[in-house]
């Protein structure tokens, strides 16, 4: 696994995505910035984690990286080629090289199709291989994700949640992608099964040289699987760093609070000192101020002007918090 000096596979530059929320009439209609000015670089062979709470824009980010949604502003590059402005038929040709796995394995598998049909559909669609080759590939995929080959004739509902997630992973791998975007792949699973899936993802990465973008809210899981992590809050990336650096030396108050809030399986956990945030996400932030201004324990006057610039505070460790720049 190369963490350094690897070439970027996926890149976003100043990406914005707005959603328009319809109201009773035009007066009540609102625009919601789901993603604001996000620039990220995902390198070859790494796992890039994105964490944040619900509504922070992490799933929108996943959909943007896959071009399932197109950005309102900014650019998205896949292996150096700009993909957000490609016509759909040209992007479709690139699709086999970047694939996605969703959180809800139950609803992302067609209940009326057998596993073998689910797994062979991408190959049929992209006209890869003949019948025999596809059959062989389906069996290979099943054994790759640790499912018995005899199960290929079964329907999705005959599997448990963990097994279904294995099928989703197998489907994503069926076209030999370079990048797999995983949107909360283990969040819906029991902890004992979560560990199985995380181990499987790691094995597959080593074997196939895959690049992952791993979206999650379970901090332990994201830390375990990712080489680098971006923390998102209210549509912005507030901090980026290598997993260990970010978790051991968090610089942004939001990252600190997020880490401190995560319950730890330790009898003394409840007594540790913690950074706590006040209140909840502010839907009407002060224009021009840091989005965390209302909740931040060390907000000062300077925080009322927020440029959105992200600065390097240690090698490879970036944050938008101006207080952290000064330290």
């Amino acid at each position: 696994m190369s963490e350094k000096n690897a070439s970027p596979v996926l890149e976003t530059r100043h990406v914005w995505k707005d959603y328009h929320i319809a109201g009773e009439n035009s007066l009540f209609a609102k625009t919601f910035h789901a993603v604001e000015d996000v620039s990220l670089t995902v390198k070859k062979g790494e796992t890039f984690g994105i964490v944040g709470e619900s509504g922070c824009g992490k799933s929108t980010m996943a959909r943007l990286l896959m071009c399932l949604e197109l950005p309102d502003d900014g650019e998205i590059y896949f292996q150096g080629q700009r993909i957000d402005r490609l016509p759909e038929h040209a992007r479709r040709k690139l699709r086999p090289r970047f694939q996605m796995v969703f959180q809800d394995s139950g609803s992302s598998l067609n209940p009326r199709k057998r596993v073998q049909d689910i797994l062979s559909e991408p190959m049929l669609y992209h006209k890869i291989g003949n019948g025999k080759q596809i059959d062989r590939r389906v069996e290979e995929l099943l054994s790759m994700v640790g499912l018995p080959v005899e199960m290929k004739g079964r329907y999705p509902h005959e599997f448990s949640g963990g097994q279904r997630q294995r099928i989703c992973i197998a489907r994503a791998l069926s076209l030999n992608p370079d990048v797999v975007v995983l949107d909360e792949p283990v969040s819906a699973l029991d902890v004992s099964v979560q560990a199985q899936i995380l181990n499987l993802l790691r094995e597959l990465q080593e074997r196939l040289g895959l690049t992952y973008v791993f979206i999650g809210h379970g901090l332990g899981a994201v830390h375990y699987i990712s080489h680098r992590i971006a923390v998102m809050y209210m549509g912005r990336v507030v901090e980026v760093g290598t997993s260990d650096e970010l978790f051991d030396h968090p610089a942004h108050p939001y990252t600190k609070a997020l880490l401190d809030a995560a319950p730890a399986a330790d009898a003394d956990a409840r007594f540790r000192p913690r950074t706590a945030l006040k209140g909840e996400i502010d839907e009407h932030p002060i224009a021009g101020a840091c989005p965390l201004y209302h909740r931040c324990p060390n907000a000062g006057k300077g925080c009322l002007s927020f440029s959105g610039e992200i600065e390097e505070i240690a090698p490879g460790h970036f944050t938008v918090c101006r207080k952290a720049w000064e330290e």
């Binding site: 709470e53 619900s54 448990s160 963990g162 097994q163 029991d190 902890v191 004992s192 099964v193 979560q194 560990a195 199985q196 995380l198 181990n199 790691r202 809210h217 901090l219 332990g220 899981a221 830390h223 375990y224 997993s243 260990d244 978790f247 051991d248 609070a257 997020l258 880490l259 401190d260 809030a261 995560a262 319950p263 730890a264 399986a265 330790d266 009898a267 956990a269 409840r270 913690r274 706590a276 945030l277 909840e280 996400i281």
Partner: protein
């Protein structure tokens, strides 16, 4: 001091077609007054069903097939629906994971908050409203008067859970049953709600029976812990004892399978092979045996029942006679 809630050898089964599928077998534990007892287990362990049966809230397919549930010395299972009504929401209150569906979307928060107080305690509308505002404020809602006028969809998940907690407190319950109260919330909000529940326990002295799948939440909240697997209690111990000397192979595995925030990332994550059994009516002997890392070495796969291995520490594990190792 006698136990506030005592569950003895409770069996619950669900009707599936013509046969009854057991979902909880021989579940026994007790909650002391003022105590926070956490029941932890994965999906299908029977933890929620056990909690629902305490309040007689099992769906029509569910049926208690044996055992007793003693609350303040009275067997809740022998009470009539009317008598249960006087306990439900009054002496025992419950909050749920599904904050979306636990509040009625067509009534204001104020209307829903006061309903219980007016019904169970005969308060006037004004008195109930005044008290509702106090309760909301106690759960950390700042502009309680405004919130009273709002509808559930206008509130965030964290606020809705606070409202649920305030409603649960309305009749000053002796026992609060909380079924995964923070699972649907973000971690920073989860932390706020955990703090709130702990401080409310300290102030009011009510006991809390907390159902969760997250061993981290257990560590933050529990005084004592019951671990459930496949419809059975497999281990019971005070918190510190359980975390430092887990005795059952399942408890150990569960703790190791959770990646910590500062763990060495290069090591392979410990995982429990296989899946939680979907049906265990036919299973004899240790239900964890097929997935147990000691399965092969374990001398006795037969059912041993819970045994006390240290004061207050019970385990069902037969491996090495259930003794604590490490």
């Amino acid at each position: 001091m006698g136990a506030l809630l005592e569950i003895n050898q409770l069996n619950i089964a669900f009707r599936q077609g013509k046969k009854l599928c057991p979902v909880a077998s021989g579940v026994s534990f007790s909650v002391q007054p003022g105590e926070i007892l956490c029941v932890v287990g994965e999906s299908g362990s029977g933890k929620s069903i056990t909690a629902l049966s305490v309040l007689g809230l099992l769906s029509r397919q569910g049926k208690v097939t044996g055992g007793e549930i003693l609350f303040d010395g009275r067997n809740l299972l022998s009470l009539s629906e009317e008598e249960m009504d006087r306990i439900r929401g009054v002496d025992i209150a419950m909050i749920f994971q599904d904050i979306m569906y636990s509040l009625n979307p067509v009534f204001t928060i104020g209307r829903q908050m006061t309903e219980g107080m007016r019904r169970h305690r005969g308060l006037s509308k004004e008195a109930a409203e005044k008290e509702a505002v106090t309760l909301l404020e106690r759960t950390g809602i700042r502009d309680a008067k405004q919130v009273m006028k709002k509808y559930p969809h206008m509130l965030s998940g964290g606020m809705r859970q606070r409202v649920m907690i305030a409603m649960a407190l309305a009749c000053k319950p002796k026992l609060l049953i909380a079924d995964e109260p923070t699972t649907a919330l973000d971690v920073t909000i989860q932390y706020q709600i955990m703090e709130l529940l702990r401080s409310l326990r300290d102030e009011t002295g009510m006991a809390i029976l907390l159902i969760t799948h997250d061993i981290g939440v257990v560590a933050e909240m529990a005084d004592r812990v019951v671990v459930m697997y496949a419809g059975q209690c497999v281990e019971e111990a005070p918190l510190r004892e359980l975390l430092t000397h887990p005795a059952h192979a399942y408890t150990k595995a569960l703790m190791q399978a959770v990646p910590g925030l500062h763990d060495d990332r290069s090591r392979r994550l410990y995982s429990i092979p296989g899946y939680v059994p979907q049906e265990y009516g036919e299973m004899t002997g240790c239900r964890f045996a097929p997935r147990c890392p000691y399965g092969a070495e374990c001398p006795e796969k037969r059912e041993e029942g819970m045994r006390e291995i240290a004061p207050g520490h019970l385990s069902r594990c037969a491996y090495k006679g259930g003794v604590k190792d490490e």
